[in-house]
Symmetry: C2
Subunit: 382 residues, 2 copies
């Protein structure tokens, strides 16, 4: 195990009805800005619950944060906060609203000339507004970590800061009952691939491996139930908790992490607008096939422990494990090939070129994903 | 899944050499009291490492905190702190030093007449000195939770407060190389039973169950390696991390918890001085056999997932699972029967009487451990 420092200070309130208890975690004098997305919180009653819980607080609103939140949108919120003096942000929605709100929290306090430098130049985040969240979509794990992804033009970039970890997160599984099946499926795959980025590497450690396998087994067992029975509280609760644990950080302490599937996937979203979860379902099976020699030992463990594959020689078991994962994604009505999204070999040069321009020439836990390997992955995903 | 609130704010620094980095987490102006036990930290170099890391801080010391820390000892520390004005406690040692230090931190700030009321009457902890730890014994999990156990005469009582959660914990596996094998074995069983208290109940949830099984499988695989090769860094690191995760709280969110094995075990320590871990190895197999009807579904899952037992009818698989656990404990040279400690049926009345005096008449996740059930457990443990 490698040395590590880990802290997950976010308080979690989990369960039906817990939105009503959120105000106790916000300072009474705080001037709160609610941030949200396209308005589903008005249909499913979450907005009304949050407003009712915040009676007595000064509350303003900033809506219309889009999926894959965009820099110009978020900078409008920064301007609003500077003009009106909000000092606490409450993100109500899914991972995009949360990620956008994390960037807003850091950008308001940024002392350089252009907050985009936080993303483009790793400019240090020295201060951020306090923020918290009411999560309505189990997927990204953003509710208990310090990471965020923001898009500007065709650049989809991420930053990390302990200062933007939410102070608390309310997870009420009933808020997810009304999600479109497509978003639920995206979330299942997103969480699954978050686990794989931390697990399916050239390294590992037993507690971390078992926890990772536990989250994946839960997603495989409970994800389809949540889709088939949208109002099954237990299935929705288990899915929600699995997605939070998938990227809380606890799975990845002291072990190497990959994240090349995300890097390649981000290019597909930035250039062609594919849903984030769908890009991962396309890239990961191809990446594992291309990288099966470097990752062979862990692929064998994955096949056996996650998909109970014990028959055949090593080569056959590795392919059977990857194929089972791909079949799981497809069972969620998720395309796993570029052709499922009407993309063909003509897009590969552009994708590889974009990686090259960003200096992404040695991705993965061992730097083994060179531009040529990335090209091979995109070709294997056709 | 039941509703829950969970927060684990303790920062963890894990790995060889990390003691050197601890001072950055303590306020520069703090007047620090080191607390420790019988002096093993002088032999294994930990004391010197801690002192070197704290150069520049005002530092005092309070030693001789005994295993199963005793109230009169801890109150001497309270007096020292009041006289000399320490405002930060750094516990250097194992679970007993940590638990004792948690009580000291709360007792110094206690406003009632007698801090013992925190333990005897659940008097609320409204304030506590900040504390942190350098852990030298993987076992209790006290390094990231708010629980502590303190002994006075024959009373071994516990309290819980978020205010005594350590601010940080340094876990350097090399500090455990010189532990006596007996203490390592005690720690393995202690951690294993912490998991079982949260897992082997009439309830459960899939992520929590898989995490619990993961910690137990790790203890079964890595514990014997750590005993056989005391300086195997990987084995010691995996054991240390497993013990922390066993009682960090993450395994028990939203699920029922038992803790009757601990309650019965505490009586064996209080009356006969048995090591805590050994009392658990005696009580748990007997308790599971007595309670196998109520806990049957989970016992079947335990037998299959932790000990790969899939043959035989339900009754046979349940007994095989319990027997495999008992054999695991015995493989660590741990007695699992009262007779292993020269105790016979004449002690049972006294043990049950002690439970009755403390009102422990309906223990367990379902209140199913009545005094008669406790009597049956002690008899089954003869």
């Amino acid at each position: 195990m490698n040395n590590f420092v880990f802290q997950s200070p976010t308080l979690i309130r989990f369960g039906e009805g817990e939105i009503a208890n959120l105000a106790q975690h916000i300072p009474p004098q705080a001037k709160v800005l609610l941030t949200y997305g396209g308005g589903s919180i008005f249909q499913n009653g979450v907005y009304d619950q949050v407003k009712a819980a915040l009676v007595g607080h000064q509350v303003g609103e900033f809506g219309d944060i889009e999926p894959n939140p965009r820099y110009p949108t978020l900078m409008k919120a920064v301007e609003l906060i500077r003009n009106e003096g909000y000092d606490y942000l409450l993100a109500v929605g899914g991972g995009s609203v949360l990620d956008g709100t994390k960037f807003i929290a850091a950008a308001v306090c940024f002392e350089g000339t252009d907050p985009w430098q936080i993303l483009s130049q790793d400019a240090p985040v020295k201060a951020a507004l306090p923020l918290a969240s009411v999560l309505t979509l189990p997927a990204t794990g953003s509710e208990t970590n310090g990471a965020a992804v923001v898009t500007r033009g065709e650049d989809k970039l991420s930053f990390y800061s302990d200062l933007v970890k939410p102070q608390f997160a309310v997870l009420d599984p009933t808020t997810t009952y009304s999600l479109p099946p497509r978003q639920v499926a995206n979330g299942i795959v997103d969480a699954f691939v978050h686990v794989m980025e931390q697990y399916l590497t050239t390294g590992g450690a037993p507690v971390q491996d078992r926890f990772a396998e536990g989250v994946m087994l839960t997603l495989i067992e409970e994800g389809p139930k949540a889709l088939a029975q949208p109002t099954s509280y237990e299935a929705r609760a288990n899915l929600m908790w699995a997605a939070t644990m998938a990227l809380n950080g606890i799975l990845g302490v002291g072990v190497p992490q990959d994240w090349s599937t995300h890097a390649l996937g981000h290019e597909l979203t930035a250039r062609f607008g594919l849903d984030h979860g769908r890009t991962l379902a396309v890239v990961l099976p191809a990446l594992l096939r291309v990288r099966k020699d470097a990752k062979g030992a862990k692929l064998l463990q994955f096949a056996e422990r996650v998909f109970a594959i014990t028959e055949g020689d090593n080569e056959a078991r590795i392919e059977a494990g990857i194929a089972a994962m791909e079949a799981f994604f497809r069972s969620l009505e998720m395309g796993t090939r570029l052709r499922d999204y009407d993309l063909d070999e003509t897009v590969v040069d552009g994708l590889v070129g974009a990686l090259e321009r960003k200096g992404m020439t040695a991705l993965g836990e061992d730097g083994g994903v060179s531009l040529e390997v990335s090209r091979a992955v995109f070709n294997a995903a056709l």
